[in-house]
Amino acid sequence: MTWKNDLQGFDEPPAPPSLREIALAYLKIALSSFGGGLSAWARQIIVEEKRWLSDEAFLSALTFSRILPGANQVNLAVFVGTTLRGAPGALAALTGLLALPLAIAVAFGMAYLSFSQNPLVSLVLSALTATSIGMTLATGFSISRRLPWHPATLLVAGASFVAIGPMKWPLLPVLVALIPLSVALHWRTAERKAP
């Protein structure tokens, strides 16, 4: 277990938590994330409160979760669970993270399917839909702001938008073409930027 090294920064390395503790911690993270901020809550509870990972190990885990495909927070939960207790730990974290959102989604989904014809409901939902699309665009803008922009960056972002948005091409071939190209182009920008 190489993971023990991550805990060296603490005076007393805590004993591995039980599966129940892992599931409950993730239930709490899911509950706290009403309105977003899942990453921040995961850090608060995993690092500050439970001291299961050091800050550095958490950041490394977050990077890992972002590089691999999938919902970042789901990946992070699986990584944290695996680190703490192997496969059962991963399942416990996943269950804790997804149980409540799943139940809430089903409840809201049933309500939506039976009331979506009501004119007042559909009016409110149109307004909320416009807001949620705004959330999506705002996410795009705030990630864009944090990026060092090179001509290649703009080219790749533009190509992936046009191919999937207006052109409606299937995602897989677009990714197969764009990701290796983009990584290759940004390998060089990385080298140039290194002091």
Partner: protein
């Protein structure tokens, strides 16, 4: 059973294509469930996306709502497990190798290379969601205003949703909607 199988088939490969997070595959999910299978209309899809953004939990919870619409409770379970299963298995398989790659030069290049692809896909998702359902000037006004407010200030999105929803409800009642 055939329907549940079809649902699993749609959602199983999706998460493995979500490079850069759940928001990057919205346009692809819409293409599959609206255009290809016709399980929901474009308007329902966008309504469900709005709901999935308002509830707690990870991005991509829209898959649960879509599964529910396509195949009831069983559909919701199948779509959720099919979506989160493959990427979880991949993370589990690679988690123990990750430490060894700590100083590998490809790590930075992969991160930097994936970012612009993800940004393009996120905007494509916004495009796909808005294209067929925004038809009133006031919807565009709300879209522009929410984008500006959220991108400019660190507002809790749920608070913005509650505010917009309340205003819309008030306007609807006043105008006799």
């Amino acid at each position: 059973m055939a329907l549940l199988g079809a649902i699993a088939q749609v959602f199983l490969p999706l998460s493995l294509m979500a490079f850069g997070g759940g928001n990057t595959i919205i346009a692809e999910i819409q293409r599959l469930v609206v255009d290809l299978h016709g399980w929901v209309t474009a308007e329902e899809f966008s309504g469900m996306y709005a709901i999935s953004q308002a509830i707690p939990g990870p991005s991509m919870m829209i898959v649960t709502l879509l599964g529910l619409a396509a195949g009831g409770l069983g559909g919701a379970l199948v779509s959720t497990i099919a979506t989160f299963g493959p990427c979880s298995a991949l993370v589990y398989a690679l988690a123990r190798q990750w430490d060894r790659a700590k100083d590998a030069p490809w790590r930075g290049a992969v991160e930097r290379g994936l970012a612009p692809v993800a940004i393009g896909l996120i905007f494509a998702g916004g495009w796909a969601l808005g294209r067929e359902i925004l038809d009133n000037p006031w919807e565009y006004a709300i879209l522009a205003l929410s984008t500006f407010v959220l991108a400019r200030w660190n507002v809790n999105p749920l608070k913005l949703m509650v505010a917009v929803g309340t205003l819309a409800l008030g306007a609807g009642i006043l105008l006799g909607g």
